[in-house]
C-alpha cells in the first residue's frame, strides 16, 4: 500500500506537482536529516547538505525509476553529498553539550536501565573515532533496513551484515569493559 502511494506521489512530482514532493519526503525527512547530522556533526552543514540533497532528488526525480527503492536512493544521494562535503576539506565538528543532552531516550525501562550507567556522549565520541566505513554502516543501520543498506552501498546483503558486525566489534573493543554487560 505504502509503495503504491509512493509511486503515485513520485508520478505526481514528475508531472510538476511540487506540493507532492513535500508528502514524498515527509516520512523520511527525520531519518535523512539525522543520518546527515551524525555524519558531519555540524548543524549548519547538516542543514545545507539536507537542502542540497532534497534539491538534487527533486531535479533528478525525472530520471528515477519507480520500481527502485526511493528511500535507498534518497540516502544514496545524501551519502554522495556527505562525501562531497568531506572532499571539500571539511572536518568533523565536536557536538555542543546542549545538543547532545536531548538525545537521551525515553523508551522502555529495560533500555533505560542499560544506558543509565553510562554516558551517551562517550559512545558518540567512540563512534566518531571509528574508521569512516564502520561509522557509516552504524549510522545507516539506524535509519535503513539491511536490504536498503545493501542497495545504498551497492553490495550483497551478507556483506552489509558482515560490515556491521565488524563495526560493532570495533566499537565494543573501543568502549572497553566499562560498557560491557
Amino acid at each position: 500500500m505504502k509503495e503504491i502511494n509512493e509511486q503515485e506521489i513520485i508520478k505526481e512530482v514528475k508531472n510538476g506537482n511540487a506540493e507532492a514532493f513535500g508528502l514524498l519526503v515527509e516520512q523520511y525527512k527525520e531519518s535523512l536529516f539525522s543520518f546527515i547530522f551524525y555524519s558531519v556533526k555540524n548543524e549548519a552543514a547538516a542543514q545545507d547538505i539536507y537542502q542540497d540533497t532534497l534539491v538534487k532528488v527533486l531535479t533528478k526525480l525525472k530520471d528515477y525509476h519507480e520500481e527502485g527503492n526511493f528511500k535507498a536512493w534518497l540516502f544514496t544521494v545524501a551519502r554522495n553529498k556527505i562525501t562531497d562535503y568531506f572532499r571539500a576539506g571539511n572536518k568533523f565538528a565536536s557536538l555542543p553539550e546542549d545538543e547532545s543532552a536531548d538525545i537521551f531516550p525515553s523508551k522502555e525501562n529495560t533500555e533505560k536501565d542499560v544506558i543509565s550507567k553510562i554516558s551517551l556522549d562517550n559512545i558518540l565520541e567512540k563512534i566518531e573515532e571509528l574508521p569512516e566505513k564502520d561509522k557509516e554502516i552504524i549510522l545507516l543501520r539506524q535509519y535503513l533496513s539491511f536490504k536498503e543498506i545493501a542497495e545504498v552501498l551497492n553490495c550483497p546483503l551478507g556483506t552489509a551484515l558482515a560490515r556491521l558486525n565488524r563495526a560493532i566489534k570495533k566499537l565494543q573493543n573501543s568502549l572497553g569493559e566499562e560498557y560491557a554487560l
Binding site: 511540487a18 525527512k29 527525520e30 542543514q47 539536507y50 531535479t59 533500555e111 552504524i138 560491557a180 554487560l181
Partner: protein
C-alpha cells in the same frame, strides 16, 4: 572463535530476524555472551543516535531551484525520454558537417582570378586603342577619297 549466530543477533537487534528463526535464536541467546554483547552495543548505538528534528524546507523554493537549474534548452524534447539519442546525434551531425566543410574549403579548385577582384583601368592601353581606331578611320577616309 566467533559465534555463528552473530548475523542473527544483528538481524534480531534491528527487528529483521525471521519469525521462524526467532525462538531458536532466543534460546541460543540465553547462553551466548557474544550475542548478548552485540545486542547491547546495538541498543547503545540506537540510544545514542536518536533521531534529530529535520529543519523545515520550502517546497516551492526547491521547485523554483529545480526549474532554474534544469534549464531545458530543447523544449520540444521535454518529456521524450525515449529520444535521448537525439542529442548525441545532433552533435555528430554538426561535427560531420564541420569536417566536410573544412575539407571542401581546403581541397576545392578555385579560379585563378576571383570575380570579385577589382578591375584596374589602364589608361595607356585605352589611349593606344583609340589611336589605332583613329588611324583606321583616317585610312578609311583616304580610301573613300581615292574612290
Amino acid at each position: 572463535m566467533p559465534c555463528k549466530q552473530e548475523n542473527n543477533a544483528l538481524l534480531y537487534a534491528y527487528g529483521e530476524l525471521e519469525d521462524a528463526k526467532t525462538p531458536a535464536f532466543l534460546e541460543h541467546l540465553k547462553n551466548c555472551k557474544e550475542c548478548q554483547n552485540i545486542l547491547h552495543i546495538c541498543a547503545l548505538t540506537t540510544a545514542t543516535l536518536a533521531p534529530k528534528t529535520a529543519p523545515e524546507f520550502c517546497v516551492p523554493q526547491i521547485h523554483a531551484a529545480e526549474v532554474k537549474t534544469s534549464g531545458f534548452k530543447f523544449g520540444f524534447l521535454k518529456g521524450m525520454h525515449g529520444l535521448r539519442w537525439v542529442y548525441p546525434a545532433f552533435a555528430m551531425c554538426a561535427f560531420a558537417l564541420a569536417i566536410g566543410f573544412t575539407a571542401f574549403e581546403f581541397t576545392a579548385k578555385k579560379p585563378l582570378v576571383s570575380i570579385k577582384q577589382p578591375v584596374s583601368l589602364n589608361l595607356e592601353d585605352i589611349d593606344t586603342d583609340l589611336t589605332d581606331l583613329e588611324t583606321e578611320i583616317d585610312d578609311l577616309f583616304s580610301y573613300m577619297e581615292e574612290l
